[in-house]
């Protein structure tokens, strides 16, 4: 499998580290809502199909990426710098 890092270009899977589900919203750190925290830390949807997830280009530029991957075919339909289009951080 290959991922096209927006910074470095297409690279082999071995250069990347999987860093988990990117569809979650971290609860407010000061929140004591145990259910929300349990869900954030443990619950995962595990869909058969399109999935948004974090990968780090650990063997390259070290940036985290948001990758949209089909869990059945491994076809990658989108790659962007984390945290993704929602929420602010622009490529400098």
């Amino acid at each position: 499998m290959r991922i096209t890092c927006p910074h470095c270009g297409p690279r082999d899977l071995q250069e990347f580290s999987y860093q988990g589900d990117a569809t979650l919203t971290r609860p407010d750190p000061a929140s004591t809502d145990q259910d929300a925290w349990n869900a954030y830390v443990y619950d995962r949807a595990n869909p058969a199909g399109e999935h948004r997830e974090f990968w780090q280009h650990s063997g390259g530029c070290r940036k985290h990426l948001v990758v949209t991957r089909n869990t059945l075919t491994h076809a990658i339909s989108g790659v962007d710098f984390a945290p993704g289009k929602r929420g602010g951080r622009k490529r400098s």
């Binding site: 750190p29 985290h64 945290p83 951080r89």
Partner: protein, 959 residues
């Protein structure tokens, strides 16, 4: 040269003769011969003994699909079994042996297995050798006992016991078009892609390119070789002979094995034995060809029974005739063409036996060219001869009703060429998930419709295959009729599986082991399915296919490991490594790092040395290299805020030129790592981590900055290798530093506990922090890594006046155990801050990673395993990893915890340790046992104490 060798022709080089040994006997062949062709040329017919029944076996095929002729080759003392004689290229000095026979191939005592009759049929081990319901051999114990003998009575080769002396390499390659197979269709695909300017990689399993062109006739061979040399001179084309593409993976990534030097006595300078290729291709052309099937009939495994195409290949490519008086048995027209070609090379073919009642004109004219009599509507029902074929028994045969309307007659022959149809080699497409499709006309599984990523061409796609009669087996009484030759699976075994209810193709495979040998059923799978389909009265496609999995043919483990073993693994050395070795340190590996264990003096054991070193630190002064600690430079206006969020304690309040010990948790509330972080400026920190967790912590920090808090302006740099770090520890530590540090004062006011100063040693800029892992007054000295040795030398020199001694990891460990300081042995991913008595570090005023989850009921339970000290009461040495139990050795009871670390304590004069124990704190003052049944067998009485053995108030290190 013998009369088996055709006087001219073939790809072999008749000017270069080669001497080799098989089963202790010396033979001669030609360069370009395989072991199979060279032995055939010398009149050898017997090549092996079958797996279970030890039946004599000869060559069935001429290529990688050969099931019988497996040999063991010994090179440089290392043995490799199960090499196919049909692929092994001979070289001067080759030593090969047959397998699975005692005492010899010609006279194998274990052939007595055949007398056991049906006791050894498929799946016998599920049903036989079961013991009575009581007694020492009850139930499956009887089988376990018998298994010892049964295993020795069957098998393939035996593995070597000497470490593999060969070198292996790995290559990554990229191309626009990967062509698998260099027969006519593959060559054409490569030529046309190269003509379009594409980057092409062409892989061919055999030593020579050309595939079937090598034995189809000189015109085809010449045309192929012109094409090949054109391709070879094209810079966009990579030709890989002796290379098998064995695996298809996601994203059109293919694995291939190049056998670089197996055909030579030894590898050339710098040459590996095998090369593992990982090829990422834009498009793949599968020109993998088709394999001929044998027919299933009684006695079809006798040496001398061979696939028709194999005989053609031996004659055309290697210039060898497999026999002098041949008979052909077929269900399709391709055998006729082969017979005619063989006749051109002076083979004597007396008869062509065809199960079909009517034969087409084209086939009949070829039979005439071959000079063979045609017996249409006939079948072979038996073979004669002992270790080699001497005759076949033929009978009129009505395929429609499976009857024999006529008497049998015997035909004398020494070779029976069989052709049961053709199976396209669809494995790589199937590995990619493409389900093969049954074609009724061709009686074969074809690859499905091409996708963008790959296409099948040539006979792999079913082109040029002659449609056979839909017949796979001649059901006649008599000898065993084999389907899978390598695993000795007969047609009756398939029907047995059906009778016992194992009817799906997956069950058939696993119950009978059909298709599970090293050849993976390449000549057997379809016939096996056909027999099952017949038993089920269903059409073949409804029986289903098993999914093909890589590898297509065997791959050496060395090629897969390539550079990742032996002396090619990276080693991480500190700048002072050479000094440690030169000064008596035993270096041991912790991960990829090499660190000094202890500096043994003459006559000292490791324990003697570390006890002496630890004593020196407590009483005097010692020096230790701590350069392996993880170090991360953290800069930016939000750096302090970031640390507050990451650590359990507060760092924004830390003053410049001060350091603080910190603990970080995971999101689930468990401890992740600890370390000391130095504040070098308002916007700059130097974080240290444990050696083992450096990478993990870096990734943890990067994750939060990229994914969770992208608005924080913080920049991280890993600087583990940039700083050399040394600790000088003991009551005289300051005196040592005072003797060599310039540009700064070192008094307690200028450099208090956890303070930082900047100075110089031997003109090298250094940072010095007063912090202690050992529990004594101590200082850590950091300098640029390139200057590490120089600074170390200066400290050693300064220390001479104070009898300073270097100490290693064992002493470091002893000192920290006495102080109850935790390391990765206690922060093992299952412990919380509370478990480790580090809850004093937890801020009550700010949230941090893990703060929301760390107070869950289960993590606050006082009965959790918590950190305690342990003292050995019997004087026996404790073992790290021992279990803590309440009971005696013969009835220990359940595990209550384990020992995380141990040492001989110079302070106590006893063996002590740290342990995580259930209800730990409440057990202080009580006793139990540290038990180690699986390793040392010790069961040592211990007493629990507070985890801080020494100076609990910290007066020595703060003073």
């Amino acid at each position: 040269m013998t009369s088996w060798r055709i006087p001219s022709g073939g790809r072999i080089d008749r000017t270069r003769s080669v001497r080799f040994t098989f089963d202790g006997k010396s033979y001669t062949g030609f360069a370009g011969d395989t072991l199979a062709s060279a032995l055939l040329a010398n009149g050898v017919r017997l090549f092996g003994r079958s797996f279970k029944y030890h039946r004599p076996r000869g060559l069935l095929a001429a290529g990688y699909e050969e099931p019988n002729a497996l040999v063991t080759v010994t090179t440089d003392g290392a043995r490799e079994p199960n090499i196919r004689a049909t692929e092994l290229e001979i070289y001067d000095g080759l030593v090969a042996e047959s397998q699975n026979r005692f005492p010899s191939l010609g006279f194998d005592l274990q052939a007595a297995n055949q007398l056991a009759g049906k006791a050894f049929s498929a799946g016998f081990y599920y049903k036989t050798f079961m013991g009575p319901v009581i007694g020492p051999l009850k139930g499956t114990r009887a089988w376990m006992f018998c298994e010892n003998f049964i295993r020795r009575a069957a098998g393939l080769g035996s593995a070597g016991t000497v470490p593999d002396p060969a070198r292996y390499e790995r290559m990554n390659a990229f191309c626009d078009v990967l062509v698998v197979g260099s027969g006519p269709s593959g060559l054409e695909a490569a030529r046309s892609a190269a003509a379009e300017g594409k980057r092409v990689i062409l892989c061919e399993t055999s030593a020579a390119f050309g595939g079937t062109a090598n034995w189809a006739g000189s015109e085809q061979a010449d045309f192929a070789h012109t094409l090949i040399s054109d391709l070879g001179s094209n810079p966009n084309v990579t030709l890989l002979p002796r290379t098998t593409v064995w695996g298809c993976y996601d994203g059109n990534t293919f694995a291939a094995l190049e056998r670089v030097s197996d055909h030579k006595k030894s590898a050339g300078p710098g040459e590996p034995r095998h090369r593992h290729w990982v090829i990422r291709a834009g498009h793949v052309v599968l020109a993998t060809g088709a394999l001929e099937r044998a027919l299933v009939f009684p006695g079809n495994d006798r040496p001398g029974v061979m696939l028709t195409s194999a005989a053609q290949r031996f004659a055309g490519e290697y210039g060898v005739l497999p026999g002098k008086r041949m008979v052909v048995f077929t269900n399709n027209d391709s055998a006729y063409e082969a017979a005619a070609k063989l006749r051109e090379r002076d083979a004597l073919i007396t008869t062509i036996i065809d199960v079909r009642p009517t034969i087409g004109d084209w086939a009949l004219s070829l039979a005439k060219e071959a000079g063979a009599e045609v017996l249409a509507g006939h079948a072979v029902v038996a073979t004669g001869g002992r270790n080699t074929l001497t005759s076949v028994t033929v009978q009129p045969f009505d395929a429609e009703i499976n009857a024999f309307p006529g008497p049998p007659k015997r035909l004398a022959c020494d070779t029976l060429l069989v052709s049961g149809g053709w199976s396209p080699v669809v494995h790589l497409a199937s590995q990619a998930g493409a389900k093969p499709v049954w074609d009724d006309k061709l009686q074969a599984f074809l690859p499905p419709e091409s996708k963008d990523a790959w296409e099948a061409v040539g006979s792999a796609a079913g082109e040029g295959i002659e449609p056979p009669a839909p017949l796979f087996e001649i059901k006649a009484k008599g000898d065993k009729a084999f389907v899978d030759f390598q695993h000795d699976v007969t047609a009756d075994d398939v029907r047995l599986a059906h009778r016992e209810g194992y009817r799906s193709v997956e069950h058939l495979k696993r119950y009978t082991t059909l298709g599970m040998a090293t050849d993976q059923g390449k000549t057997a799978n379809v016939s096996g399915m056909a027999i099952m389909a017949d038993a089920l009265s269903k059409p073949i496609p409804e029986v289903g296919t098993t999914r093909f999995r890589p590898p297509f043919t065997g791959v050496s483990l060395g090629a897969l490991a390539a550079e990742r073993y032996g002396d090619i693994r990276p080693e991480r050395l500190t700048p002072m490594h050479d000094w440690h070795e030169a000064n008596g340190a035993g270096m041991y590996a912790t991960g990829l790092w090499y660190r000094p264990e202890s500096y043994n003096r003459t006559g000292e054991t490791v324990e003697d040395a570390y006890v002496r070193e630890a004593k020196t630190v407590r009483r005097n002064v010692g020096i230790v290299d701590v350069s392996t600690l993880g170090k991360i430079d953290i800069q930016g206006p939000d750096a302090a805020e970031f640390l507050d969020r990451v650590y359990t304690n507060t760092f924004s309040t830390l003053q410049v030129n001060k350091a603080r010990y910190g603990l970080m948790l995971r999101e689930d509330g468990f401890a992740l790592d600890d370390g000391t972080t130095w504040r070098l400026a308002d916007n700059r920190f130097l974080m240290t981590t444990t050696t083992a967790n450096a990478g993990r912590v870096m990734q943890h920090l990067e994750y939060y900055l990229d994914c969770i808090w992208p608005d924080l302006k913080v920049h991280l740099t890993s600087v583990t290798d940039q700083w050399a770090a040394v600790a000088v520890a003991g009551p005289k530590s300051r005196e040592v530093l005072a003797a060599c540090v310039k540009r700064t004062r070192l008094d307690n006011k200028t450099l208090p506990f956890m303070g930082i100063v900047h100075g110089k040693i031997a003109q090298i800029p250094v940072m010095i922090c007063r912090l202690s892992f050992s529990g004594e007054r101590a200082y850590e000295v950091y300098c640029g890594a390139h200057h590490g040795q120089r600074v170390w030398d200066a400290l050693i020199e300064a220390g001479k006046a104070f009898d300073m001694q270097p100490y290693g990891l064992e002493a470091l460990g002893t000192l920290r155990i006495e102080k109850g300081h935790v390391t990765g042995a206690e922060i093992d991913g299952r412990t919380t801050a509370r478990d480790l008595h580090l809850d004093w570090l937890i801020s009550k005023t700010k949230p941090f990673i893990g703060s929301a989850m760390m107070n869950r009921e289960g993590l606050a339970d006082p009965k959790r395993w918590s950190l305690v000290g342990v003292i050995s009461l019997s004087g026996e040495k404790l073992r790290g990893g021992s279990h803590i139990v309440d009971g005696p050795a013969d009835n220990p009871g359940r595990g209550l915890g384990h020992l995380t670390a141990m040492c001989f304590s110079p302070l106590y004069g006893k063996y002590i340790g740290l342990a995580l124990v259930e209800n730990g704190t409440s057990r202080i003052g009580t006793r139990a046992f540290a038990t180690d049944p699986a390793r040392s067998g010790t069961h040592i009485p211990v007493e629990f104490v507070n985890h801080i053995f020494y100076d609990p108030k910290g007066e020595r290190m703060h003073g």
